[in-house]
Symmetry: C2
Subunit: 306 residues, 2 copies
């Protein structure tokens, strides 16, 4: 039986960045009180196996969906709170990767660094959008690492977002673990291999969509994700979630095809979004079309509630 969500928060400690992060969120919301704000979660959560953590269970996610979607929400006029796994991809900077950067920089005679022309051309529009988000203060990034940190921050941010009512949107793209080891069941030090094979017991994480939709931020437009590897389960599980948690939209995707195909599922309809190999080769990302669709449905949702 899955534990009650109250008990989870009673037992698991707040992350060390909790108070400052929630203060930042409060200031951010105050500055954009008449706008639409999207809370986007991104990247995988970790489940530490030891208090002094050497080993952890992780959920596969580079953070592509969340970071690409953030750029598109900004393009669509949203302000964005980006709740992301530390060291996963971030909006804008994801276009500037290590070795590519190194190869794009040159050293001029006077020891100054210059940028190659090709690279400039390719990335000037990304850089311009980044600078605009800084100027407008339209993007707030809050990092997490563990499952417990993520859920604490998610709850805290949601509670602050309630003042925006229907103008707040949640886009829960993070790959969140279904399992965890409660603090009081964790070993203190690194598990020793001399002790032989290892057995790990993980408890079920309470389903947080339930308190989220019913009490943390009940008027928001809520988008959740379903990632499966088995095609036959996907739509069925998406519908089941909508019925159970009574939220607005599920984006279903398969691990193998998620970069070019998703299905948008609501209680009333389902709609496939696909991009072609040709579009991918031209640097077009599926998130552009996903956010266009989500944003349209969110606008209708706001109108319907007035």
């Amino acid at each position: 039986m899955s534990q009650d969500w109250h008990t989870f928060f009673e037992k698991q400690k707040k992350p060390s960045n909790y108070e400052t992060s929630i203060q930042q969120v409060e200031d951010f919301i105050k500055a954009h009180i008449n706008e639409k704000i999207a809370l986007i979660s991104s990247g995988g959560t970790t489940v530490p196996l030891e208090h002094n953590t050497v080993r952890f269970v992780d959920n596969f996610s580079a953070g592509t969906r969340g970071s690409a979607s953030t750029e598109n929400f900004l393009d669509n006029g949203y302000c964005v709170i980006f709740l992301y796994r530390l060291k996963s991809l971030e909006p804008f900077s994801r276009h500037f990767t290590g070795t590519q950067i190194l190869n794009s920089l040159e050293i001029a005679d006077n020891d100054t660094i210059t940028v190659k022309r090709d690279f400039s051309k390719q990335l000037v529009s990304v850089l311009r959008k980044y600078k605009s988000s800084v100027d407008k203060n339209s993007l707030l990034c809050i990092p997490f690492t563990t499952l417990s940190d993520y859920l604490w921050l998610l709850k805290g941010i949601c509670e602050k977002l309630t003042v925006l009512e229907t103008r707040s949107l949640l886009y829960l793209a993070a790959a969140v673990s279904d399992f965890y080891i409660p603090t009081d069941e964790m070993t203190e030090h690194k598990i020793q291999s001399g002790d032989g094979p290892l057995s790990i017991s993980l408890q079920l994480v309470p389903k947080m969509l339930q308190p989220l939709t019913s009490s943390w931020v009940p008027k928001a437009f809520i988008v959740s994700f379903k990632l499966e590897t088995d095609d036959s389960l996907l739509i069925r599980k998406a519908r089941y979630a909508l019925d159970k948690y009574n939220h607005h939209l599920v984006i279903g995707n398969m691990l193998q095809t998620r970069k070019y195909e998703v299905t948008i599922v609501t209680k009333d309809d389902q709609k496939q979004i696909k991009i072609t190999q040709d579009q991918i080769d031209n640097g077009i990302e599926i998130e552009e079309f996903i956010i266009e669709e989500v944003s349209k449905r969110h606008d209708a949702f706001i109108r319907n509630h007035h």
Copy 2:
């Protein structure tokens, strides 16, 4: 009882980049046949819980030790094969991080991107060293993700390195899992949370230092690492490893203090290397002093075997 290493390689499949990587290594060694080559492993290995991997057990490591050490080995005249966890820190590019890069770039009137002067000053020497490594072809980077991929590549590279005899050095900084799930015991699809709490059974990975020192690359100078969180175990476990595997040097470090304190342990002596807060604040890294010491001992080792 830990499985025999032969059985491990019989059961676990080669990574898809195996043949091309080993070919690259062979070419690299041929080009530097009269030089010293260091094989540096870096970052944590993953242990997938499913064939279509959504979840995995990971070992904590950003790759700082391995990537910083690589730069210092290059400074000390080595050629380096950098065997690293994909997306962990890489030499040189680690100094150019996402948001810092974005904030260091400006857009000039003609839509070209320029680099701020402060940033230029700070990083021109790193960039120069990077370009020099490209010009000299002195650095080869080979990525891995899973434990199994790592061990396959490690074995394959070691076997190619034997021709260098004592001029090859192994610096095994990767955080390698002691446990794994054999391919034939893994589930095919994403584990479903509806099935209740999760129990994971992991087998012991055979200790690869044993075949490595005795048969894969028996004449190389071999440096291994011990990371602990419990101070009382560290030196004892380092000495035990040296006695058991008959290699040359263990670098012992504690999870909490590893950035400014390590202990170099050999069969004959032990030596602490420490840097001060003042040095850290001035951008000095402990790897500079570790590699200086390791390199000196490797040179003595080469002389003694002639």
